[in-house]
């Protein structure tokens, strides 16, 4: 039996970071994710594992601290919520451009602008399509439970180091604030200097040793021909992620006539909506993307011969639905149902939307 606790999603992010051997957290307070840094400050990991926790002067400084820390081959992370992630967008594209591994957690709240502090999923475009400038991608993982908040911290670092690319946990105020049972991960020691040299010695700026070429952590190349070659390399990396790293979950899909596509807390709501719909005799299933980039395009396409309609359920005005439509390519009707600005849809509303769109009621 592992270490099982009842914890808040945000607290679990902090605990999972300590346990997975994270070297540094750099953050700035913003609701609804401040418990992450607060938990770390209470836990004092500097005394336990040597992990560094710094409250930065801004979101911009925090993400650039992450850039500096990642440049040293250290496992570093930051967390924020929507308006703060907009400020971090500069650092995200620099991290991707310099091919640096790092973890960014976004506990999404309603927008645009200062918006609201209640949960939303309206940062999908920002996370998946860019947010910062240039042709880059983040690895984006969408937890739907407090357990996955725990599991995805280590997984994000694993993927970030595998591909030398920043990874984002795209969660929301529901998952961040709710308490659930969670089995915490085992403690892993932080990497030693020797291990870092072995794993990341070709690029980590830990001090140039005699007889080796100096290492430069940069996203700059003023020669456009070289910059294009570098962009080809990035694109090849993103294709490899699409080939190897797509993760999704299918619930009640075997006999489904209709399909919900939803991630994060919307997927939890859809699970209840399935129960309600099936009690009414409507056979509906759920495809839950776990990776938002790379997106489970093929998994959706595999359902096309079977289902008569797809409802993309999001706490946004309709962002992920664009990727569903790209996958479906007009072969079956795809509709969107969303509540936004911090409003969480009820399972009954979702069933009603399914009926209205596809069952002529």
């Amino acid at each position: 039996m592992g270490d099982i606790r009842l914890m808040k999603g945000n607290e679990v992010i902090a605990e999972a970071a300590i346990r997975c051997g994270c070297d540094g957290y750099f953050g700035y307070p913003i609701t609804p994710q401040s418990e992450i840094m607060e938990t770390l400050m209470i836990r004092r990991p500097e005394l336990e594992t040597g992990m560094v926790v710094v409250q930065a002067e801004s979101e911009v400084a925090a993400i650039n601290m992450v850039y500096g820390g990642a440049s040293c081959g250290k496992k570093v992370m930051t967390s924020s919520s929507s308006p703060g992630i907009s400020l971090k967008a500069e650092g995200l594209t620099y991290l991707a451009g310099a091919e640096l591994p790092a973890l960014i957690v976004n506990i999404v709240r309603g927008g645009p602008g200062l918006g609201t502090i209640q949960p939303a999923q309206s940062d999908y475009f920002q996370a998946v399509k860019g947010g910062g400038h240039g042709d880059y991608k983040l690895i984006v993982l969408a937890p739907a439970s407090v357990q996955e908040m725990n599991d995805f911290v280590d997984l994000s670092f694993e993927l970030a180091y595998k591909y030398l690319n920043p990874a984002m946990i795209l969660s929301d105020g529901v998952i961040g604030q709710m308490m659930e049972k969670v089995e915490l991960s085992e403690f892993k020691p932080r990497w030693t200097a020797e291990e870092i040299e072995k794993i990341s010695g070709s690029w980590a700026t830990t001090g140039k040793k005699k007889g080796v070429t100096r290492r430069i952590s940069t996203s700059l190349d003023l020669d456009s021909a070289k910059q294009e070659i570098f962009n080809h390399k990035l694109q090849a990396k993103y294709r490899a992620m699409e080939e190897n790293e797509v993760r999704f979950e299918k619930i009640d899909c075997d006999d489904a006539d209709y399909l919900f596509v939803a991630y994060g807390s919307s997927a939890r709501i859809c699970q209840k909506a399935i129960e309600i719909a099936r009690a009414k005799g409507i056979k509906v299933g759920l495809l839950r993307p776990i990776t938002l980039f790379p997106y489970p395009t093929k998994a959706i396409q595999a359902m096309l011969g079977q289902v008569k309609g797809i409802l993309s359920v999001e706490m946004s005005a309709g962002q992920m639905v664009e990727d569903v439509r790209l996958a479906v390519s007009g072969k079956v009707p795809v509709e969107h149902y969303g509540r936004y600005g911090g409003i969480i849809p009820t399972p009954d509303e979702v069933v009603e939307a399914l009926e209205q769109n596809f069952l002529g009621e």
Binding site: D23, G24, F26, V52, V54, A56, E57, S58, V60, A61, A62, N64, M65, V66, Y67, G68, G69, S71, C72, K74, V76, E90, G91, Y94, A98, T205, T206, G207, K208, K209, K210, R214, R215, I216, S217, T218, S219, L220
Partner: protein
């Protein structure tokens, strides 16, 4: 004896009184004639060699003319987004406290877009060295006004001279950071004469020694020229700097604790 043979005879061990530090790479510098960056790079490189810390030093280069500083010093480098070098340096020294970390920043980078990052790194007293090259103008982008541009100074964005009523006043960053309890050593130097270079070198040594002793942040401003941006010859630039920059940005040490 031909001139060439004469030269060959001169280059011999017993005549060697000066050699380039190996920390300074042989790459051709992209800086304009008369630019002070090359001299400052050399001074930093020499100090790194003298102190034997080449393997332990990480530089953070800015955005601006010295963005490519990593091409000139044979150490590990991080290249920061505009103004963010102190944030990178903060994480680097926190995660590797046994290293020597410095930022190298211009006045647009440090005093304008990176004002928050430098103030807070200074306020936290991060155990790093900051080189602040102040030539009162944006060089790389083509000579626009910087926060340190003098009143009345003509730049690409103050074509009729800087009007402090609408653009604010030249910022005295060294004075500002010296007021923060987190800073240990704040000095303003220059590099236009052999004497000035010697003084600068002494300050650079002191700054890295402060890191060694875990004393906190050392801030070295170097008042410099920008012949291209100022549209003057290198000689004129040095004269202009002495006449106009030095009275407003007086040289000397503001804080040494």
């Amino acid at each position: 004896m031909t001139a060439t043979t004469e030269l060959k005879n001169i280059i011999s061990e017993e005549n060697l009184i000066y050699s380039k530090t190996p920390v300074l790479l042989d790459n051709e510098m992209h800086y304009c004639p008369g630019c002070t960056h090359g001299v400052i790079h050399k001074v930093i490189a020499e100090v790194i060699e003298d102190m034997g810390i080449q393997e332990e030093t990480i530089g953070v280069s800015p955005v601006g003319c010295s963005v490519l500083a990593y091409n000139y010093l044979d150490i590990d480098w991080q290249q920061a987004a505009h103004g963010r070098a102190p944030a990178l340096a903060t994480a680097t020294i926190r995660l590797m406290p046994e290293k020597y970390v410095f930022t190298y920043q211009g006045d647009g980078d440090l005093a304008s877009i990176g004002c928050a990052e430098i103030m807070h790194a200074c306020n936290r007293g991060e155990n790093i060295v900051v080189f602040f090259v102040n030539n009162g103008i944006y060089g790389m982008t083509g000579g626009q006004m910087a926060p340190t541009t003098l009143e009345g100074q003509v730049t690409a964005t103050t074509p009729y001279g800087r009007d402090c009523k609408t653009t604010g006043f030249p910022m005295k960053i060294s004075e500002m950071v010296s007021l923060l309890p987190g800073t240990r050593f704040v000095t303003r130097q220059s590099a236009e004469t052999p004497g000035a270079v010697r003084k600068l070198k002494k300050a650079v040594k002191k700054a890295f020694a402060n890191t060694r002793e875990d004393k906190g942040i050392s801030f070295i401003e170097i008042v410099s020229t920008c012949s291209s941006g100022w549209k003057q010859t290198p000689v004129q630039s040095n004269e202009w700097m002495k006449e106009h920059m030095f009275p407003y940005y007086p040289l000397g040490t503001l804080k040494d604790e």
